[in-house]
Structures are given as C-alpha cells and as structure tokens.
C-alpha cells in the first residue's frame, strides 16, 4: 500500500563511484534539488523548482547515491505528525493508522517501508528524531554546524540541522559521514574541534587518533559508558514509554554501561523557549513568500501589502499562519523583551545545564518522545498538546547538541518507542557508539 511518503517521485541519478553507489537516499522536500520541485509540503511552493542543489544533495550525488524522490513533511517543518502537509498526511508503516511523526515523517516512512534505503530529514525541534522513534528507525540530529544548511529552506535557522534516517545506527552513521563537514556557503559550519575540548571522551580520542569514520564508531561497545538521565524528561511521559525506556537502559547496563539520574531545571522551560524562538525566526524566514516570485498569483486588486496578505492567506496552511503570527508578535516592539529576549535567556540557561550534565556523563538519555505514535487526526485540533510532545527533543536544538534516536522496544500494543541519546557538541561518535548497542 502507499504510505504517501513522497510528494514528488522523480529519480535523480548519479554516476559517481562512492560509498553510497548502491543506495537510494530519499530527500525531505525542504532540501533544494536542482530541477526537481521542492515544496516544503506547502501550496505556496507547489510549483517552485530550485535552480541549484543543496550542499547535502551535491554530497549525496558525489557519493554515488540515487535520490528516488522528495519526501512528505509537515508544511515548512511545522508539525510533529506530517499531517499539516498540503499534499496529504503520511501513514506510519510501523503502526498503520497512526502518524509517522514529524516533521520528517515522509523520510522516516520511506525508510521504514523499504521505499528508500536511507533518507535525509531535517531537525529543528525533533523533526528527525520524532519520526525515527515513531517508525522504529534510527535518526541523528547532528551538532549545529556539523552539516551544511545551504539549500535547506529555513524554518528556524538558528536551530535546525539536516540529519540521516536509516534502518540501523551504522547506516545512519555512513550517511552522516557523507553529508558532514564544513561548507564555505554556510558560515555556521565548523570543523569538528576534536582535540580542543578539555572533556575529550574516549570515543573522541579514538576517532581523532585513528581517523575512524562515524560508521566505525557503531561498534556497540558501551563498556564503561556513563549515562546521565535527566529526570525532567521522564516526568509526565506515558507509562509504557517510560517502561520501555528503562528496559533499554537495563540492556545498556547489562553490556557494561552505568547510569545516574540528573536534574536539569531549565528543561521545564525549554519547549516554551523553543517555540518562541522558532516562531520568531519563522516569521522572518517565511516573509519572502509574498507572491512576487513564489506562490499563487491571483489577480488581486489593491496595493502591495494587500496583495501580499492575500497570497499568504491562500498559500499557507493553518499551522504555518499560526506560527508566523505568534512569531511576529513575539518580535514586536513592546513584546520583544518579554518573549523573544526571555526565550534567548532560557536558551542560554538550557545550554549551561547541558554543559554541566555532560561533565558528569558521556551521554544523556531520555525517551525520544513522551508518547507513542498518535492516531491520525488526533492532535490536529490541539496545537498545544502537539507542541508539548516536543518536550524531550527541543532542548537539544536549543543547546546545539547532537542526539540520536534509536528503537528502544515497543509498547504492549506493538507501538514503536525511541530512546534518545544526547552527546556533547561534536560528540557524534559517542552517541553513535552508545546507540549502536541497541540498533
């Protein structure tokens, strides 16, 4: 059956020899592909065909990958269920009738259904990890600055990264290897500062010494690994999710890891801070879609502002309009200090809390999502509940850290549950090594 994982099925071939020569890699539809339309799941960009490739697309093609198409997503990445897409919802191959998570739901569903070997998603507040958790796949959100965003159509540019989704940790790591690394077209990319950190973990030293790839780190060796578990990320989570989470932690412990609980008070405020920042940035990033060059061009009468408003009213979906309005409000004179500035302060606090927690632990662990995949249609009318489902993933974006979601097991109903492992900045090898013990 079709899961509606793709918005556009158009194959982009590559003749290059490379590590992905025999692989298909589905690409989320907010990543620019030259000559192949890139819609962001929005009617506004239904006919937009980019004249250039995103850096990650260039790197995929240079590595020999075949791109089988562009995957479905919540409109502009704004959602946790892939139901806000203008191209219809995507079903969950691992739990039919339920949402595949979002916003990279099409990418995760394509991998889970075997319609692509691998996929690229983007993660602004959990959009790679959530669908990985809901579809029983692996997803990595890289450290901010590890992967070039050039060609990624921005939702919230200070938060998002492109990341791999794959059936296993090793395959996700192989794909990360291909897309990672500085890009002169993205000034926020950096070379991973392996040696410079005072807290260089074993994995990092090993990688530095041997020049091993990310995939080599997927050796399942967690002997001596110290795991910190932020209690705030278990509070309020679904009981069965929590149980499955602890089963996974027990397994890691059985293989030589140890854990301790840690309290991170700032996390209570992370979702709020995240949404204020993400919406504020979105209100600016999406301003260019005004009908002059993109979107429906009906023959409106009136001045420019009236025409812009009419085009945006028609071209954007409800959730996008809600976030643009809230973001515009948060940045406005008189409210800027109360919302945007305070959210930035909270962001700094979250970063600090993670830094402290990671001084005592190699990685931090939590359920990726506090709930199992929802029934389709269940959460659309209740945006606040949907936002709160991002409680465990958004803090990682605020702190610019890397995190991986690996399958932790299933609920008694057979619904997938994901385990999230968070590492220090540029500590991808550590979360890959730890995650590979489970998947």
């Amino acid at each position: 059956m079709s899961y509606n994982a793709f918005i556009t099925r158009e194959t982009i071939e590559s003749d290059a020899e490379g590590p992905l020569a025999d692989k298909t890699v589905a690409v989320k539809d907010n990543i620019s592909t030259e000559g192949v339309r890139t819609t962001c799941g929005s009617a506004m960009l239904e006919e937009y065909v980019p004249p250039y490739d995103a850096t990650v697309v260039e790197r995929l093609l240079d590595a020999g990958a075949t791109i089988p198409g562009k995957t479905n997503m919540d409109e502009f990445g704004m959602g946790t269920t892939t139901e806000t897409s203008a191209f219809g919802p995507t079903d969950n191959p691992a739990a039919e009738g339920r949402v595949p998570g979002g916003s990279s739901g099409g990418s995760a569903a394509a991998v889970a259904a075997g319609e692509a070997d691998l996929a690229l998603g983007t993660d602004t507040g959990g959009s790679v990890r959530c669908p990985a958790a809901f579809t029983g796949t692996v997803g990595i959100k890289p450290t901010y600055g590890l992967v070039s965003r050039y060609g990624l159509i921005a939702y919230a540019n200070s938060l998002e990264q492109i990341g791999p989704i794959a059936p296993s940790v090793e395959e996700a790591a192989e794909l990360l290897e291909v897309i990672a690394g500085p890009d002169e077209r993205d000034a926020t990319t950096r070379e991973a500062p392996w040696a410079s950190e005072e807290r260089a973990g074993d994995a990092r030293e090993q990688r530095e010494a041997s020049g091993d790839s990310y995939a080599d780190a997927a050796d399942g060796d967690v002997e001596g690994l110290e795991i910190g578990i932020p209690t705030e990320l278990l509070d309020g989570a679904d009981e069965e999710v929590v149980e499955t989470f602890w089963d996974a932690i027990d397994e890691l412990e059985a293989r030589g890891a140890s854990y301790h609980e840690v309290s991170m008070e700032s996390l209570e405020h992370a979702v709020e801070a995240y949404y204020v920042i993400a919406m504020s940035e979105a209100s600016s990033n999406l301003a260019r879609f005004d009908g002059v060059r993109y979107g429906p061009t009906p023959d409106y009468e009136g001045n420019w502002n009236e025409e812009f408003a009419a085009v945006r009213e028609e071209g954007f979906g409800e959730e996008v309009k809600r976030r643009i309005l809230l973001g515009t409000y948060a940045l406005s004179a008189g409210y800027h200090d109360k919302y945007y500035k305070q959210a930035q302060d909270a962001r700094a606090w979250v970063k600090q809390d993670f830094d402290s927690a990671l001084e005592e632990a190699d990685v931090l662990a939590s359920p990726t999502m506090p709930v199992p995949p929802m029934e389709r249609g269940e959460s659309l009318d209740d945006p606040l509940t949907m936002y709160l489902a991002d409680a465990n993933t958004t803090p990682v974006n605020l702190a610019n850290l890397p995190a991986i979601s690996v399958p932790a097991g299933e609920t008694s109903d057979g619904l997938p549950v994901g385990l999230q492992l968070i590492g220090p900045a540029f500590g991808e090898t550590e979360i890959i090594r730890a995650g590979s013990a489970l998947a």
């Binding site: 965003r149 050039y150 600016s284 301003a287 260019r288």
Partner: protein, 504 residues
C-alpha cells in the same frame, strides 16, 4: 503670517543625517556576484542575492575592510566583535522581505568628521556607521508601445512594476551623524568632505548611480535653547517635532531639500502652527518636500540577530587594515614638501586621483610647473567643459606626456595649453599627434643647424653686410631661419647659432 509673529521668535535649525554610501568592492556583501553595473537587469544575481529559499549569506571580507577603513578615517571605535541583525519589512525590492543590517553591534561607533565651512573648522559627531545590504531597484511602468524608458512613470500612474536585483546585495555603509548641523549649507560642506575622505580611502565611487543616498532629520527649536557652544539640551530636541526627509541623492540636493524644509517648518512655527512629526519625500525637480507618512504609521522592524552569520571578531584583524594619507594631511604635506600655496595644495588634493597624479609628475619635473599644469590648466580646462578627472582617467598617461613636452621645453606653454590640451579634450587626440599635425614641436637642433647653414649659403649679400658690421643683417638671417623652420625654432638660439657659424 504677520510681521509681528515672525519677530516674536528667534528660531534655530537642527539637522542630523543618515548617509548611505555604496562601498566599492568587487563582489556583493553576502555572495560572489559582481557589483559592476550590468547592462541587462537581473544578470548579476545568484541564489543568495535573489534571496532564493535555502540560500545563505556569507560575509565578504572586503566589505568589512572597507568599513574598518571608514571607521579609522573618522576616528571611530571599532568593537572587538560585530554582528548582524535582520530588519524585517515588506517591500518588493527586498528579495527576502528582510534586510541584513547591523543593529546593536555596529562596526563603527563614536567618530567625528572635521570640515571647513565659511572659513571655519567645523566638526560633526558620527554616532555610528554600520554595514548592510542594498535592496534591488524598482521601476514603475505604464502599458504602451513606446520604449521602456518613455513608459517609466510614478507609482500612482503605473500599470505594473519591474524589479531588478542586480543592485541587491551591494554593500552599503550607513553613516549616522549626531544632530550637530545648524544650517543646510553646513550639510553640503560636510557631505563634500565625507565624499572626499571616502574617495581617498578607495571605498567609494561617486560616479556610480545611487552611490550616495541621504536621509536627513530636521527640526526647528527656539534659538535661546542653543547654548554658546551650539549645544542643545536633549529634552528640547526630544520634544521638538522633527521630519525625516528622504530621497536626497546629492550634496546640492541636500542643501536644497533642507533649506526648503527649514523654511517650511519656520513658517509653520512663526504662524503659531505645529510641525507634524512625519517622513517627507524630497522632489528634486521641484526642489520641495512632500509628506509621505506620519510617524505613527512607521513600521516596527522587529530587529533580531541574523543567526546565519556568526558574530565577527574584528579585534585582531582591524590592526592589519591600513588607510592611506587623508586629504587634510596631504594638503599640509604638499605645501611643505612642494612649496605650494594653500590654494594650489587644496586644488591638487581635491581627489586622491588628482593628488596621486600631481605627485607622480612632481617627482619627475619641476613641482611648480606641474602644479600650474595640473591645478590651473588641466583642472581649469576640465571645469570649463563640466568634466572632472574621472572623465579622463584613462588618458592621464597622455596628459603626463603633454606635461613632459612642456617640461622638456619641446613645445611652448602657450601652444601646450591652447592647442594641445584643448584639442585633446575636445577631439580626443593624443598630444603627439596634435603636436605633429600642427607642427608645434620646437625644431630639433640638427634641423635648426641645417637651416642656419642653408640661410648663410643662400644669402651671401647679408653675410657680407654682417661682416662689414651691419647689425640688421643678422636679423634678416634669423628671419630666414625662422621661415625655414616654420617658426618652431627659438629665435635667440638661432641668433647664437648664426653668429657662431659666421664667426667660425
């Protein structure tokens, strides 16, 4: 307005400026596109300056260097770290509907620019100067069959609007002054000086269309609120309603717009009416200003940090950026080093190009002669033709050749200016062509010698007269030689040569 009302208040004008200067760089501020004006619209563009979805800005270091040079020239403080913000507003010439600019961390703060006005030294504070990207340009057009130029019109009569993104992303520097101006003429003098300094720094091309754009804030206060040093209490300024005049694009326009605005506000106040706090548009054709929008309608730009550009550390870098000798210093040095008068030094340092040209020639030839040639002859003839040095910048080699001909006394000064220089400027010929064509070259020694010998041989009677002591005979022979050489020989020299030959 009654005479009584006019007398009842003594008013003073307060002006502050926001000057937008296009910085001369090879490429745009956030992408690799050329900043050269293009023939075709929308050709010097790429995903970045078109604001295509997914494209990201990367800062051009050349623009930062240019800005640091400006900062150094105006003695501004340049912070350790500078950062970019987004200024959000919707306008069709703005590809992203936000402009990347600087907000709370500008690259230059607290500078000062000194200039001369009515024989006095004036100095105006520069509050800040920051980098930003230029929007595209738009053209309002009527339907019709005539040429596009002919159909270009004002927005209210237009059927549609064309957008050209070639200009989008050109680096701009916005220079914000303190409200230190007390008179529109002062503004003009300041702008002239500012342009001179920017040109000296090599960061500005005044000939480029739209390279200088000025917004001016003007308010009128009671003269008694201005103290002896010209300072005005901040509360008074805060309270006075001011207008912002936009669309000024020249020094002259600035003086004109602000003179109009000053007298408009004075008249309102003198007749007991209030000045509305508003933005006004300068109409260069009519020399007046018209209301655009009131302050209440002004936009909230919702500034916030541009996360795509990490904060830039300029602290260690700025020390490596050097600036050339500035006009004031050069003027003084010219007087001391070449013994020039203040007036000549001033003329010769009016632009860096002129000063460099003078100095290049003065090192080779007599400094006084070169000064006369460049300051009086060249600039004078250019001025007469409404031209300036930039119009002949590719012909400076030829001018140098002409000066050399004069300095080496190959042609007379009079011929050099009246025939050669004017011919060069009017007909575009090179100096040697004109000299040859007009036979202006002082004839070379060999040819004169030949003519002398011929004259003696052909005129035995005159030779005889000379030997018998008749002095007039030599004059006859000189005349013969001059005739043979087409008047280009030096009569004194001919006289000497003849005597030598006749005595020998």
């Amino acid at each position: 307005m009654t005479a009584q009302a006019a007398e009842s208040r003594d008013l003073a004008v307060v002006i502050g400026l926001e000057v937008h200067v296009q910085l001369e760089t090879d490429t745009k501020i956030f992408c690799g596109c050329s900043t050269e004006p293009a023939e075709e619209p929308n050709t010097n563009t790429c995903p970045v300056c078109l604001g295509l979805p997914g494209a990201l800005p990367v800062l051009n270091e050349g623009a930062v260097e240019a800005a640091v040079k400006v900062g150094k020239a105006i003695g501004a403080s340049i912070p350790e770290e500078t950062a970019f913000h987004r200024k959000n507003y919707y306008y069709p010439d703005l590809p992203k509907n936000f402009q990347i600019t600087q907000y709370d961390a500008p690259i230059c703060q607290d500078g000062v620019l000194e200039f001369g006005h009515e024989g006095e030294r004036r100095s105006v504070g520069i509050r800040r100067a920051h980098l930003e990207e230029d929007p595209g340009s738009i053209k309002h057009v009527r339907e019709g069959t005539e040429s596009l130029e002919a159909r270009t019109c004002s927005i209210d009569r237009a059927d549609y609007t064309l957008i050209d993104y070639n200009r989008a992303g050109t680096p701009l520097m916005e220079i914000v002054t303190e409200p230190d101006f007390r008179d529109p003429a002062e503004v003009r003098a300041f702008l002239e000086k500012l342009e001179e300094v920017l040109e000296y720094l090599g960061v500005f091309d005044p000939t480029r269309d739209g390279s200088l754009r000025i917004d001016a804030n003007l308010s009128v206060v009671d003269a008694e609120d201005v103290d002896a040093d010209g300072e005005i209490d901040e509360d008074v300024l805060e309270e006075a309603n001011r207008t912002e005049v936009k669309n000024i694009s020249s020094h002259k326009g600035a003086e004109q717009a602000l003179s109009f605005e000053a007298s408009r506000q004075k008249k309102l106040l003198e007749s007991g009416r209030a000045v509305a706090q508003e933005t006004r548009h300068f109409n260069e054709t009519h020399g007046n200003t018209v209301a655009m929008r009131s302050k209440e309608e002004e936009k909230d730009y919702r500034y916030f940090r541009e996360a795509d550009l990490p904060p830039l550390q300029v602290s260690d870098w700025k020390d490596e950026i050097e600036i050339p000798e500035l006009p004031d210093a050069r003027r003084e040095r010219f007087q001391a080093e070449y013994g020039l008068s203040a007036e000549a030094a001033s003329k010769l340092t009016s632009t860096k190009q002129v000063a460099d040209f003078y100095e290049q020639l003065a090192r080779e030839y007599d400094a006084d002669l070169v000064a006369t040639w460049v300051a009086d002859n060249l600039l004078g003839e250019l001025n007469y033709r409404d031209m300036d040095v930039t119009d002949i910048e590719d012909r400076l080699e030829e001018i140098a050749t002409l000066v050399e001909l004069v300095a080496e006394e190959e042609i007379t000064a009079k011929n050099a200016r009246e025939t050669v220089l004017r011919g060069m400027l009017d007909d575009g010929d090179d100096p040697k062509t004109i000299v040859d064509r007009e036979g202006l070259g002082k004839t070379s020694g060999d040819a004169v010698q030949e003519a002398v010998e011929e004259a003696i041989e052909e005129n035995p009677d005159a030779v005889e007269d000379y030997h018998s002591g008749e002095d007039g005979a030599i004059n006859f022979l000189v005349g013969q030689v001059m005739q043979k050489t087409g008047g280009s020989a030096d009569p004194g020299e001919v006289n000497g040569l003849l005597r030598e030959e006749l005595e020998g």
